[in-house]
């Protein structure tokens, strides 16, 4: 996954930056939620640019840049190119930055739909027709998935970088984590449309442990680790929802098209026969 040089200098304090595009702020809030580890982080790195936390906004270049949010305005296109130039290591945090986020649902809507919901003065607003991941625009060195990202994974990531280790997280499905926690299967026993079989692990199997079917907020299980001998077969799960749970096509599409709608193989579910769907 990470083929680029992920080492940071140990001689001088690495400079850290946090940038935001279209998002809810939740992933960068995870940094402020590190409790006292935040103070340790502050000693280990020079937090050079993090407007949500500090009025002191220093210019680049940066050693490590964390990017939250998706690209969704014309201005974003220039900003992300500039940020890439200024950053040695660029890491996207969260579903918006890695997959376009919930707001990527607009990538599937046709122009007419948006014209219908035009408000008083549309001429005041500038927005692209799509919400896209950072990696569609610039090279990304590492991606941290989830909506929101998991705090422990964030800590692990930062520790790895500072220790000179290339970070790597399991891409296997949520089911394995859920089984290890001995939760009753929401899909098999509960008959609910759980996305656990095709969703990436990392959250701690929160929804099944709360008696709720997984809604895929960590995105599709990772296909790039063949050694995990696992393929996220979303189409097969969708078929099971149709035959066993008697869900309609629209219900199935809505199930997969929520937080990670713009990432394969969730993207393709229900999209082919969607009228005016942007199969991009």
């Amino acid at each position: 996954m990470a083929t680029s040089d992920m080492t940071v200098s140990k001689k001088i304090k690495p400079r850290l930056a946090v940038f935001k595009f279209a998002s809810c702020d939740g992933c960068q809030l995870s940094i402020l939620s590190l409790d006292e580890d935040l103070l340790i982080l502050d000693q280990a790195v020079d937090i050079a640019y993090f407007p949500e936390a500090s009025s002191k906004m220093q210019e680049g270049p940066y050693d490590v840049t964390l990017v939250e949010g998706s690209i969704s305005t014309p201005e974003h296109l220039h900003q992300i190119a500039e940020i890439r130039e200024q950053s040695k290591i660029l890491i996207t945090i969260g579903a918006c930055a890695t997959a376009g986020g919930l707001q990527a649902l607009r990538n599937f809507a046709d122009a007419d739909h948006f014209t219908e919901v035009v408000y008083a003065h549309p001429e005041y607003i500038e927005s692209l027709s799509t919400s896209t991941p950072i990696s569609e625009h610039v090279k990304v060195d590492f991606e941290l998935w989830g909506c929101p990202i998991d705090k422990l994974q964030l800590k692990q990531l930062l520790s790895d970088l500072l220790a000179g280790v290339t970070p790597r997280f399991p891409g296997q499905s949520l089911c394995q984590e859920c089984k290890r926690k001995s939760e009753v299967c929401v899909l098999v026993s509960g008959g609910e449309p759980c996305l656990g079989p095709v969703t990436r692990t990392g959250c701690g199997a929160i929804c099944p442990s709360m008696g709720k079917p997984c809604y895929g907020c960590f995105g599709p299980a990772d296909l790039s680790f063949p050694n995990d001998r696992e393929q996220a077969n979303a189409a097969s799960l969708a078929e099971r929802f149709a035959t066993e749970l008697k869900m309609s096509e629209d219900e199935i599409r809505r199930r997969f098209h929520l937080i990670y709608s713009y990432m394969s193989p969730f993207k393709e579910i229900g999209d082919a026969d969607k009228k005016g769907g942007g199969n991009n």
Binding site: A22, D25, L29, D35, A53, H76, T130, M210, L258
Partner: protein, 431 residues
């Protein structure tokens, strides 16, 4: 007359992205624009065609700092339409969940975002270099709030268990009881926080405000109550169902958020208004701690927002302790109900103020229309008004100083700019 333009390109220590733009001719103010350039995310469009049961997971993503508020206003609206009868313990548990969000959000703002302004630092991390114990207290208070959210909702950001009719699962009594030790610590720490912030140096900047909040008969308002207006306008009690008859939105060129007015005038929502309107329903300890500060209500100085927020953090901690000590798990976590078509609305108190939702639902339970009015868009024109009032007193300062003072006023409101933008309907520029 010479023209003067003062800009703050990026307001720091707020949630989301905003800027400030002031234009003056000599000493005459031409305009004050709080520019919200946080990109819109089309939530109203996404919600159309979605099932009511999906809404709480969708609207949570409007804001990572107050997701519970969005979930809560949504499920309350649907429960009114479906005439759901909530188990009293479920209702208590919801208040407890809201306490968790208030504690974490208020601790974040008091210690990490706002305190640096009063102490002359750029960030809380800088404060920690001279007063680490203060910052550690703030971080630990935030953690106590997060722990409540994690215990009931599975995680602090975008929790998962709240649903129409109750919760997907409720915690056992002994699991909740494990939170009490830290909450007892937090109660003392919150009292210390009130004393600490009351001793800060406040600019003399009292304004004539219209205070707007929820008001409940015998509770400090979280989930329920009528809308109550006081202060500069005559006192008025307004049922939430009449919200849109009194509070109107308008779209201005410089902002990706709509602005709201009460009978065509700016108003204030959030901790200052809540405290002024609901003082009688504070716990005795919150009330006596407020008395010790010597501040008299109504609070009219926006810089006292940090005091109001601290008193509310204490109130939320006391409420959380009461609920956990008396908790008896409900027999059934989710009430039974039947889906009905129609329109519904609800307002709850997000940490930053009143959050109003309205939905139209069809017979299949699918959303036909959604309207969401977050607190920051309600406060936006009041913030601009405050800056207009502030400018004459600092007009002789240099641009940098003026920009700094104006930013301080904006931060008093704990604006959540990510929230304010998301409900906007708009057009799209095609690539």
């Amino acid at each position: 007359m010479s023209s003067r333009s003062i800009k703050v390109d990026m307001v720091a220590r707020v949630e989301g992205e905003g800027a400030l733009d002031i234009e003056m001719d000599g000493n005459e103010i031409r305009h004050v624009h709080l520019k919200i350039f946080e990109p819109p995310r089309f939530f109203e469009a996404f919600l159309q065609g979605r099932h009511y049961s999906e809404v709480s997971d969708i609207v949570a993503r409007i804001c990572g700092i107050c997701p519970v508020a969005y979930q809560m206003s949504a499920v309350h609206a649907f429960e009114k339409l479906f005439e759901v009868k909530l188990d009293p313990q479920v209702r208590k548990l919801r208040r407890l969940l809201y306490c968790g969000e208030w504690i974490e959000s208020h601790a974040l703002h008091i210690y990490m975002l706002h305190a640096p302004d009063f102490l002359g630092f750029d960030s809380a991390l800088e404060i920690s270099k001279t007063a680490p114990e203060v910052v550690k207290r703030g971080l630990k208070l935030k953690k106590v709030g997060d722990a409540i959210l994690e215990t009931i909702g599975g995680r602090a950001i975008h929790p998962v268990s709240l649903c129409v009719g109750g919760f997907t699962r409720v915690p056992k009594k002994e699991v909740l009881a494990e939170l009490l030790g830290d909450l007892y610590w937090a109660r003392d720490a919150a009292v210390e926080t009130v004393h600490w912030v009351a001793g800060l140096d406040f600019p003399d900047f009292s304004q004539s405000y219209t205070f707007m909040s929820l008001k409940h008969e015998d509770e400090y308002p979280f989930n329920e109550g009528d809308i109550f207006v006081s202060g500069a306008e005559d006192d008025a009690q307004i049922p939430v169902t009449d919200y849109e008859a009194h509070f109107e939105e308008s779209h201005v060129a410089h902002s990706n958020a709509l602005q709201c007015h009460y009978h065509s005038k700016p108003y204030l929502t959030g901790p200052l208004s809540r405290l002024n309107n609901n003082r009688d329903n504070l716990h005795p300890l919150s009330s006596s701690t407020l008395d010790v500060t010597g501040l008299k209500l109504p609070l009219n100085n926006p810089f006292h927002g940090i005091v109001a927020r601290s008193v509310e953090m204490l109130e939320a901690i006391e409420e959380a302790i009461d609920i956990i000590e008396a908790y008896d798990p409900p027999a059934k976590p989710v009430a039974e109900y039947e889906v009905r078509e129609g329109s519904c609305m609800a307002a709850t108190e997000a940490p930053r103020g009143v959050l109003y939702h309205r939905y139209r639902v069809n017979a299949e339970g699918l959303i036909e229309e959604a309207k969401i009015v977050p607190p920051t868009s309600q406060n936006q024109s009041r913030i601009e008004e405050d800056i207009r009032m502030l400018l004459p007193s600092i007009i002789d300062e240099n641009d940098e100083k003026i920009a700094h003072e104006c930013e301080r006023v904006i931060r008093c409101y704990d604006p959540c700019i990510s929230c304010a933008t998301h409900f906007l309907k708009l057009s799209v520029t095609r690539n």
